[in-house]
């Protein structure tokens, strides 16, 4: 029963994280390279531009859902199971989502990595 709770928590974390990651990545691409931007305009301009981005707020909200999911799941299962399993499944979900929503080029190299990670997750659960 406890492991059903743990995996339920992991699924919630994965869905919320993928949505959050995609929104945050989109927000930061809209802001641009913060190193360059910081050098030219200063830290506070960078911070206000990030905080003023609507995608950033939606992304943070999704991440907050994922974070409380993590708090629950960590109280039910080991950190060496919950954290890698959630993060790795998030990685695979992100490979799909980044290709569709962020137009990233997820090539063979990145897909092989996704399969290796999936295998690793299966072993973590064994």
């Amino acid at each position: 029963m406890k492991s059903a709770y743990t995996w339920g928590g992991i699924l919630v974390i994965v869905f919320a994280s993928v949505i959050g990651d995609v929104l945050l990545a989109r927000a930061m691409k809209q802001v641009g390279d913060v190193h360059e931007f910081w050098r030219r305009a200063g830290l506070w301009v960078v911070v206000s531009r990030v905080l003023g981005n609507p995608n950033f707020f939606l992304g943070v909200t999704a991440m907050a859902v994922a974070f409380f999911g993590l708090l629950f799941a960590l109280s039910w299962g080991d950190v060496s199971l919950v954290a890698p399993a959630a993060a790795s499944l998030t990685f695979i979900g992100n490979a799909f989502a980044a290709q569709i929503f962020l137009h990233e080029k997820v090539d063979r190299r990145r897909w092989i990595a996704a399969v290796l990670v999936a295998g690793g997750v299966a072993l973590l659960a064994a």
């Binding site: 913060v34 190193h35 090539d107 990595a113």
Partner: protein, 168 residues
């Protein structure tokens, strides 16, 4: 990839692993949270380990946002996967959780998969108008080899990132 960018990726890795470990330690002290007693969450946040964990995860978040501003999501996540190894080490030596050989193998597979990805270019996404529509074999080949593309992406971002940089 500059030294500064490597440091940002290292920050993402270390802060995430350390933050998660502290949260886990704190949550074991506060006990299970039930859906029917949500006030347990507030008690959990008052636990010093959970509080420090949250501060570390905020530091992780800042580095993560920094990295996402100059690299693909599908690059940043894998490139920072060394955190799984750090987590396993922390679980074994600090939290005294038992990590079975199968789990170690799983962690090794994950890290291997991620190291695979880190050898590619950091940035492949283009804005709608400048993105090439055709998926010609030549373009795909160039992308795999990390050769500069014709779409005006700065060369620096196409240099294979960490074939030797991330320890495997």
């Amino acid at each position: 990839m500059t030294l500064r960018k490597y440091l940002v990726l290292a920050g993402v890795t270390v802060f995430a692993a350390a933050g998660d470990s502290m949260l886990s330690h704190g949550m074991k002290q506060t006990g299970s949270i039930s859906v029917h007693h949500l006030e347990g969450i507030i008690l959990a946040v008052l636990n010093p380990w959970v509080a420090v964990g949250i501060v570390l995860l905020l530091a992780f978040f800042a580095s993560y946002m920094n990295a996402l501003s100059w690299a693909d999501l599908t690059f940043v996540l894998p490139a920072t996967s060394l955190g799984y190894v750090l987590l396993a080490l922390a679980a074994t030596f600090v939290l005294h959780e038992r990590v079975s050989p199968l789990r170690w193998l799983g962690i090794a597979l994950i890290s291997g998969g991620v190291g695979f990805v880190a050898g590619g270019p950091a940035l492949t996404a283009h804005s709608e108008d400048e993105r090439p529509r055709s998926k010609s074999p030549l373009l795909a080949k160039n992308a795999r080899q990390g050769a500069p593309k014709a779409t005006g992406v700065p060369k620096e971002q196409d240099v294979p990132a960490a074939s030797g940089g991330l320890p495997r």
